[in-house]
């Protein structure tokens, strides 16, 4: 897929339209000029979600009511689709080719992989960041997984309510068991699907992981089920059913669910050591890149297409050696969007790229003459 152009109005400080090139697109400018805002606009157009904020209304320019991001995406040579997301107050409305579109259909239009500062949580943060990474990956290969996950989370939420309520009102274990049983029964099936989806995905990631692109250490991934060591994981349904039965008193005491894949983790290892604990900042960044590249490669082998790759503030995240290797790897693969404040990088690494100079949210110069933007100051 290819993002042909994007147009923003009242989205943070952005205005105007940018026609992107098929390979590397460098968004260059001083700090605070709105480089990352353009990445955020692409991210928001693709995922109907920002990577910076939970509350999309924060992206509306101060004093304005309505922010709009529009874009055109090409699938192959002949299929062009117009996407639009409009933000007004707390509501967002999305449309595809000028017609309102349900979220699930809309989200499948552009798939992106983003390397931002927040994503570093995957390699050094809490397990939930790693579970989200895996879930996003599984969903990119099997869309029905999104519903499975939603159902699973819903069941956990309902069950937690029972456990909390029982704990507060001192409802007996026997009665709680009765109330929890119908939810546990669903939990078993859904948990097994989540477990299988994530395990498969990790296995596939391991197969395509370019273990040594960025360093001498060998990176491996290992899905760590919270039920590991508790019995036979091959019979996951049987095992989790058993654990749910045994651990109900503990769950009741805790007031929330203790058993299930919402407690699982992904171990990222280098030469057998855990990256999160023992990895240096540089090694962690390399590992994150490897994960992203593996996700891109898997997406490609599944869909015969490449997702868009967004890299925010490339100099902050990567040293020159890694940037060089990364660009070499991406050459001819993804359409890549990179922000940087260093002009030395622009000349050195990005001779093949389209360069967009940003000032106060608008493009004031481009490195390739064919790339012209409609510049209108607000």
């Amino acid at each position: 897929m290819l993002l042909e152009w994007i147009e923003a109005s009242n989205f943070r400080n952005l205005s105007g339209k940018i026609f992107w090139g098929p390979g590397f697109n460098i968004i260059h400018g001083s700090n605070g000029q709105g480089k990352t805002n353009w990445l955020e606009a692409i991210h928001t157009l693709a995922r109907a979600k920002s990577f910076r904020t939970q509350h999309l209304q924060e992206s509306i320019k101060f004093g304005e009511q309505l922010a709009v991001v529009r874009g055109r995406v090409a699938h192959g040579a002949d299929i062009h689709r117009d996407l639009q997301i409009a933000l007004q107050g707390n509501t967002k409305s999305i449309s595809l080719n000028g017609k309102r579109e349900p979220l699930t259909g809309y989200l499948s239009q552009i798939h992106i992989v983003a390397l931002t500062a927040d994503e570093l949580d995957i390699v050094r943060g809490m397990p939930d960041a790693r579970r989200r990474f895996l879930d996003r990956g599984v969903a990119s290969l099997q869309p029905a997984y999104v519903q499975t996950l939603m159902d699973y989370n819903r069941v956990i939420k309902q069950k937690n309510h029972i456990l909390r309520n029982s704990a507060e009102r001192e409802i007996s274990l026997f009665e709680t068991e009765n109330l929890v049983a119908p939810w546990n029964q669903q939990l078993i099936g859904l948990a097994a699907q989540v477990h299988r989806g994530r395990c498969d995905y990790v296995e596939r990631l391991n197969q395509v992981l370019e273990r040594r692109v960025f360093g001498r250490e060998e990176v491996t991934l290992n899905y760590v089920s919270s039920l590991e060591g508790k019995g036979d994981l091959d019979d996951y349904q049987g095992l989790i059913a058993e654990r749910l039965r045994l651990r109900l008193p503990a769950e009741l005491a805790a007031g929330h669910s203790l058993i299930g894949p919402h407690r699982d983790d992904l171990a990222i290892l280098f030469d057998g050591h855990e990256m999160r604990i023992y990895g240096s900042a540089g090694q962690q960044r390399s590992a994150l890149l490897l994960l992203d590249l593996a996700a891109i490669s898997l997406y490609n082998s599944w869909h015969n297409d490449y997702p868009l790759f967004l890299i925010d503030d490339v100099d902050a995240e990567l040293d020159e050696k890694r940037i060089g290797k990364l660009l070499e790897y991406l050459e001819g693969r993804t359409q890549t969007f990179i922000t940087t404040a260093k002009s030395s990088h622009v000349g050195r690494f990005f001779s093949q790229a389209n360069v967009f100079e940003i000032e106060e949210g608008v493009v004031v110069g481009t490195a390739e003459p064919k790339v012209i933007s409609a510049v209108e100051k607000p």
């Binding site: 699930t104 869309p143 029905a144 519903q147 159902d151 819903r154 069941v155 939420k157 309902q158 069950k159 309510h161 029972i162 309520n165 009765n178 109330l179 049983a181 119908p182 939810w183 029964q185 669903q186």
Partner: protein, 204 residues
């Protein structure tokens, strides 16, 4: 300060209490009512009053009815040995439209949802178990319970709960299938339904 005269505001507020009616719809309805001839308004008021006064819940199956027991529970041509359990009266109508179900119903008026503080005791379940005894059921032994609650996590939990309740009694408890809508194209089916249909495929 009120934007409209007091009676209008009051009417708008009342409309807004109704499900899926927001401020704008409520205003539109209120203004429409003001334009309506008085006789029509009377008819509407009467219809609402009548529905409250004349419709009761069937003491056997909890369906909305004017006569107790309802037309299904009192019908000699229905099979009283098969009970279809549904969440809402309108789900009953959906099953009934098939014209192929000849059994009787049991309406729960809801589904289990701890988040919304709906537990088993909030469902109309109490009069289901007594129905399973022949002496309470026109002398007929119930042989099968069909659980036709919605295919949501809440509907599923409700079906599970009732299943657990009934299994020890040794009767046949079934759950309706999930899958493809009939008469539509494969291409129009969402991926989740398609996924379920593949998982629940059967040999021909």
């Amino acid at each position: 300060m009120l934007e409209y005269a007091e009676p209008v505001t009051k009417l708008i507020d009342e409309f807004k209490r109704l499900p899926s009616i927001g401020q704008k719809s409520a205003q539109r309805l209120a203004f429409h009512i003001m334009r309506m001839p008085e006789a029509e308004v009377e008819r509407l008021v009467l219809a609402m009053r009548e529905v409250k006064q004349r419709i009761i819940l069937c003491s056997v199956c909890n369906n909305h009815t004017e006569l107790d027991p309802c037309r299904f529970c009192s019908s000699p041509t229905r099979d009283h040995g098969v009970i279809c359990v549904v969440e809402e009266p309108h789900s009953l109508v959906a099953v009934e439209k098939t014209r192929s179900f000849k059994g009787v119903y049991h309406v729960l008026h809801g589904s289990l949802s701890p988040i919304r503080h709906i537990g088993p005791s909030d469902l109309h379940l109490a009069n289901l178990l007594p129905r399973l005894k022949p002496e309470n059921n026109e002398g007929v032994q119930v042989t099968e319970i069909i659980l036709a609650t919605n295919p949501t996590t809440e509907g599923e939990a409700t079906a599970n709960y009732i299943g657990r309740l009934l299994k020890p009694l040794g009767l046949r408890v079934t759950r309706i299938a999930m899958g493809m809508p009939v008469g539509s194209d494969l291409e129009y089916v969402d991926e989740v339904t398609m996924d379920k249909s593949l998982a629940n495929r059967h040999e021909i």
